[in-house]
Amino acid sequence: MLIYLVLLINAFCAVVPWLTRRHQAMGAVNIAGHLAAFVLVLVQIAVLGAPGRLDSYFCADALSLFFIFTIATVNLAAALYSKDYIAGEVGEGLIGEGTAKLYYSLFNIFTLSMFLVTLVENLGLMWVCVEMTTLASAFLVGFHTTKKAIEAAWKYVIICSVGLVLALIGVILFYYALNTGTGAKTLNWHDMLLHAGNLDPHIVKIAFIFILVGYGTKAGLAPMHSWLPDAHSQALTPISALLSCVLLKTSVYAILRFMVITNKAVGVSYAADLALLFGIISLGVSAAFILVQKDIKRLLAYSSVEHIGIIFVGIGIAGPAGTFGALYHVFNHAVTKALMFFAAGSVAKKYGTHNMRNIRGVIAAMPFTGTFLLFGVFALGGLPPFSIFMSELTILSGAFVQGRYLISGLFMFFLAVIFGALVHHFSGILFEKKPKEIAAESEPMATKTAFIMLGGFMLALGLGIPAFMVKLLHAAVNILTGI
């Protein structure tokens, strides 16, 4: 089973940094490991198909594999970007070689825990793995011991842990419902799904609220999102990408698993309406914050809140179109946001500031990064021919077909406002005259590879989804819609 190999590779890469001395070697091994993992996942999906339940602990059905694919892709990009990023930090004396070891090790523990979330069958163990991701990434967020970073890390740990306690309550309530309903004493997802029809709907409704709010805190749904802008903006750039693009999605995955059970127990509209409510609130809140934002990485963090909102609107619309669009959006947003974070991180580093008012003329100063930033902005705003446009259009078509005009109107309105804000902020950053002190220089090879890879995905998926991915998505949608 190739997925086990992937886990082993991640564990191995977590240990290697302690055995090597030079950060360049650590970086290279990291890239090699994640490239191997990515290829393995690709082979598994394209060639071998989804094996389904593996044993009593692991489950690798289509839904899991789709999320695993997303994680593996962004991991590879982050590994590519990390190599030069850490090399730069060590070179400038911002961190020492020992700290670089710590970084690479934690990086891989973090990615390992994220893979585990999507692989475990037992819902209680899934909770433990999600908590592990919080703890593994806490140090990565507070990596630079600056006041802002530590403040961000503290808020991140505390707020997410509170959220997860609420999620644990939800897990217990589901367990209780299963106990009283059928006498079964298991937290395995497949078993729970089997008996879902016999669960007491009142208990399940309450349990799902705790799950949604609890895991929703970790997923970045407003109004529980308050840790997000701080943590994602203060973390190291490759970690910001991992946080925004993958970690949020693993929490979405957890919510989705519970949603399948809830839908069977109480009907589809309950969970869907809740998801819709939170989705629209997230869109509204993020639109307001993006409009008046000054910090470039905080802006991207709020954009993540927005896109999680879009995913939840898709989940809330449900049906084949909405669910397909939401899952598709999980991948598209991951790839596009990673690109944006990398580009913005490079820009912020070069200009020495996060404040957007002080960054001007990026296209002139950093042509390669600037061009990708330019396309990333338009991709993020939902313009064709990029992939986010297609997933948003899919979700919208689902909404219109159901005649939900108010939701669609709000959805389009907030997206339009955010688009305007993005163009307003980034046109000043990218164009206009560059300050004289900034000299043009070219980016290193690994970073360029990361950009090209992500940009390629962004564009290719906008033009058409490859066949194996369509198959995987349809299988995942079937799991979610209970067919």
């Binding site: 209680g124 808020k155 505390i158 306690v165 309550i169 367990y175 009142h202």
Partner: protein
């Protein structure tokens, strides 16, 4: 009968926590609460004669009654930031709020999960009250350590909820949760040190550089 006494003891620990002004008192109340929890679990273990429950009792005693409070007391001593927790609401007010909420939880517990026996309803309410108290500590106490303890209290409440309504969770999950809790305290503890180092105080209400 013993279970009733222990349950009342738990309720008492909740009020103790709400009324505490200093970190030392809070940690002692937490110890007391965890002890009550351990004894409760022991009595369940005796009734059901389940080996796993004995293991869990031992783990509670080891981790929550001894290890974690000792770790926290060590950190408190090194912080030397004054034992005062930084109260947003004074102790009498806190106790009143916790009481009112306890009453609210009890009255609504029937509508939440209908048809519970009196005992079960009591346990259910107390566990939710413990969770609420943990939350209360996190929101209305200013020092970082109080927030950690608040988290731990919430987890205690969750454990109590699990044991009262569903005889605990599958063994492997319980063990994993314990382990997780321990790592959380260690990690949070490290961060408290860092905060103290950078800010020279651990008053988290003053950590407001990141806004907007």
């Amino acid at each position: 009968m013993w279970t009733h006494i222990l349950t009342v003891g738990l309720l008492f620990s909740v009020f103790l926590m709400a009324a505490s002004k200093r970190l030392g008192a809070l940690i002692r109340a937490f110890r007391f609460q965890s002890l009550m929890l351990a004894l409760l679990t022991a009595s369940f273990a005796r009734h059901s004669d389940d080996l796993e429950l004995w293991v869990i009792t031992v783990m509670i005693l080891f981790i929550k009654v001894w290890l974690i409070p000792r770790h926290l007391e060590k950190i408190t001593a090194e912080m030397s930031s004054g034992e005062n927790m930084g109260l947003v609401l004074n102790p009498p007010m806190s106790v009143i709020i916790v009481t009112v909420f306890g009453w609210l939880i009890y009255s609504f517990s029937d509508s939440v999960i209908g048809g519970m026996s009196g005992d079960a309803r009591l346990n259910f309410s107390i566990s939710f009250l413990t969770i609420f108290t943990g939350f209360f500590l996190m929101v209305f106490r200013l020092k970082a350590l109080a927030q950690i303890i608040g988290l731990l209290v919430m987890e205690n409440g969750v454990f109590m909820l699990a044991s009262s309504i569903s005889d605990g969770m599958p063994f492997i999950v319980e063990i994993a949760v314990f382990f997780d809790l321990f790592v959380l305290v260690v990690v949070a503890g490290i961060f408290v040190y860092r905060i103290k180092g950078l800010f020279t105080h651990i008053d988290v209400s003053r950590l407001t550089r990141l806004k907007g």
